[in-house]
Amino acid sequence: MASSRLRIAWFSDLIQTGQPPHSLSQYCTDLLLPILKDRFEIETFSSSFSTPYPWIKHSHHLNAYKRHREQPFDLFFYQLEDGVPGRFARTQLGMFPGITWVHDIFLGDLGSEALHTSPWERTVAQFNDPTLEFSERGHLPHQLRPHAYREVSVSPLVLFSSRWAQKEFLGLVSDRVEHALGAHRSEYLPVPVKINSTRRRARRDGTLHVVSQCSTGIEGHCHKVLQALKALKTPWSLTWMVDGSELSRARALVEEFEVASNVSFVEGRTSSAWSDLLEAADAALHLHNSPFGHLGPYLHMSLAAGIPTLVLRAAGGEELPSDAVFSISPGLFETAQFVGIFEALSRAGSKNLGEPGRAFIEHEAGVAQVAKQLEATFYQMAPVCAEVLSQWSALYDRADNALVEEIKPLVDTPAPGSPSAYEHIILPFVAEVRNFSKLG
């Protein structure tokens, strides 16, 4: 019996079996798929032949067109982010337009080589005007621009996992998108987080246990933190999670500030290691805000664990409500602000100052909440996507014909009355393959 659930083609970088997530797409997919699989008929696509989720049908992204032909999808859903692992999704989006969940509005990576000569502006224009012909081969298309112009142009709905990025999109990008599939729509959909079911109890050993995953560069503000911690009169400890490449720099810093006996290190940034650290923490530091506004999953995890969380009031950090986090204004009095907050936390005793943050994030980005939002979005957008896909399919029919027409001059200069290679070799071949494809 045919299923009445929507069929979703889910394009995302996937975790490797047994490994923690290494990208936002991996992280989000890992949290959401187990919930959404019961509500939709989902198939995953990635650049790998294998999947860590044996309970969901998986294919290589290059086979998406075959799966769509065999059993059409109602909508295509892509997670987009900067960097090599997400390249395939950006490429594939140009083959089947769909809803995008953009984790990076600024794409520093040019994308796969398949996009470097992409005529996407012409393609979108042809989508809107079926009378437009395909451009001549060999013409250099417009340069790709960094603000994901191509990606948002072929997306009927763009979801942003950062409010800052959405603002940036509405202010800087949206108006400049000259060719697009219909009207632009954008919504905010935060990075989900698992909410601890048991409320955290404050520790009472008299020591303030601080955890950090800030980078060792100046943008991580760790020198200010170390200065502030050193100035504390009460006992404290710092557990610092750093990438292996930063470990020696981090060690040198704590030596420089003469606080080595209070600091321990965890090598390698992973969400599972961070989760473990939060178990015994009294305060979590999130001071390295991306200049492009992303707050990342670690901050959400700290809030969800009910840990008092210190953030820098800059870029994405400005978007958080002041009662949910402990905000630091960057600048002259930064160290004094840190000292003040650390002292307040030391004095707090059994009072859990992280509870407002936990309540906020549960409502904002709890995994159940985000799944619900995404579910509603899929149902709402399904009719729009159906229309777009049907029109897109017509564009591809025109491309099929244009390709065959392009071959004609390559093979055919028949003398009058002599057989035409185009008619006798090319057309029967194309017809035979297409007939085979139809029969499956």
Partner: protein, 368 residues
């Protein structure tokens, strides 16, 4: 005895593993008393729309008989030779059109996101599935190729490793201070990895490069890389060499470099092993990894010049370990039947459709 056509694809003025494989296969068939010949059509991949023309040309060929003489079996090898029609078609797949499969989206593919390109990719992918699914016997030259065929076209196949072209003639001699690189000179073979490693490699070692360029601008690019590092006194381009000279070069190399990107199979790996020389390859070299084990019979390192340099320096600094790797490689080749003995399995597999009393009728298999 059967009349057999081996179907090859020839890019004029180039010579690589495929040509070696086709030539050796025909020789082995004839040695077993079969009447075997090669049918080749020149391959021109440019402009890229021509790829459809190439497939269509092969498809137009009905090889059931020539001038009233029946052909008992055809053996196809690589894209697009398997498009030919014959009721008894075996395939020993060297590779498909990689630019629409595993190389898609990377620097070695010119297929973009123009809807016409995507239309062509779909047409040729479906065409491959059609042409390869009608084969009476399907095999691939390596696991790597077989896995791609399964993943992209949903078709199962057997793996028949090609035995080495010079059979039992490979030999080992005391090493001399040079690294040997063998193969077509083109970007995907990544000769630049070893050229850029040379400044970091023990200055006593030279690099000898066997092979000719088969890509526009490739030789200029690699020569430029060499000159950039002022390495002309340490690198020697030998061009194409004869079999005896090649055997000699293999036998005395301190180590052999072979680190292409996601290779289908790689004769060079096995020839180095058969010559008792340690091979250095890369972690993303594909088919070579089916044979090379890091530290056991060669080195498998990251695809960057510093890692390559470290690997070759380790061979120089520890000649006993290097010799042991070479010996282990030779043992693997002997045990796997890669010398003369392995041919029986290959021929038995490829000729198995002949054992059936009659082949399937072509008209029934076309179209699925």
């Amino acid at each position: 005895m059967a009349r057999i056509l081996v179907l090859g694809v020839k890019v004029p003025f180039t010579h690589g593993g495929q040509e070696v494989l086709v030539g050796t296969l025909v020789k082995q068939l004839r040695a077993r008393g079969h009447e075997a010949d090669v049918l080749e059509i020149p391959f021109n991949p440019l402009p890229k729309q021509n790829l459809v023309t190439q497939a269509a040309m092969w498809r137009a060929l009905d090889l059931t008989e020539f001038a009233g003489t029946p052909i008992d079996l055809v053996i196809a090898t690589k894209f697009p030779s398997y498009y030919a029609r014959h009721p008894r078609k075996s395939v020993w797949l060297v590779h498909q059109l990689r630019s629409i499969y595993d190389l898609y989206g990377g620097q070695y593919s010119d297929i973009g996101d123009d809807p016409r390109d995507e239309s062509m990719r779909r047409l040729l992918t479906d065409g491959d599935t059609m042409a390869l699914s009608e084969c009476a016997y399907r095999s691939c030259i390596s696991k790597n190729v077989a896995e791609r065929l399964k993943a992209f076209n949903g078709l199962h196949s057997r793996v028949l490793y090609p035995p080495l072209p010079m059979g039992d003639q490979y030999r080992s001699a005391p090493p001399e201070p040079y690294i040997l690189s063998v193969g077509r000179i083109c970007r995907i073979k990544r000769l630049d990895l070893i050229i850029n490693a040379m400044p970091h490699i023990d200055a006593r070692l030279k690099l000898k490069v066997v092979g000719v360029a088969d890509e526009p601008g490739a030789m200029e690019f690699f020569t430029n890389e060499m000159n950039k590092h002022n390495l002309s006194s340490r690198i020697e381009f030998l061009g194409r060499v004869g079999n005896e000279e090649l055997l000699d070069l293999y036998s005395k190399a301190t180590g052999v470099f072979y680190a292409p990107f996601d290779e289908d199979y790689g004769y060079v790996t096995l020839e180095a092993m058969a010559s008792g020389r340690p091979i250095v390859t890369a972690t993303d070299s594909g088919g070579t990894l089916e044979f090379v084990r890091d530290g056991e019979n060669g080195r498998v390192v990251a695809p960057n010049p510093l890692a390559m340099a470290e690997a070759f320096n380790s061979l120089v600094n520890d000649p006993v370990a290097a010799e042991k790797m070479g010996t282990m490689g030779r043992m693997l080749i002997e045990e796997a039947g890669m010398l003369s003995t392995g041919w029986d399995d290959v021929i038995n597999g490829l000729l198995s459709p002949l054992a059936k009393s009659s082949g399937p009728e072509l008209t029934k298999v076309v179209g699925g």
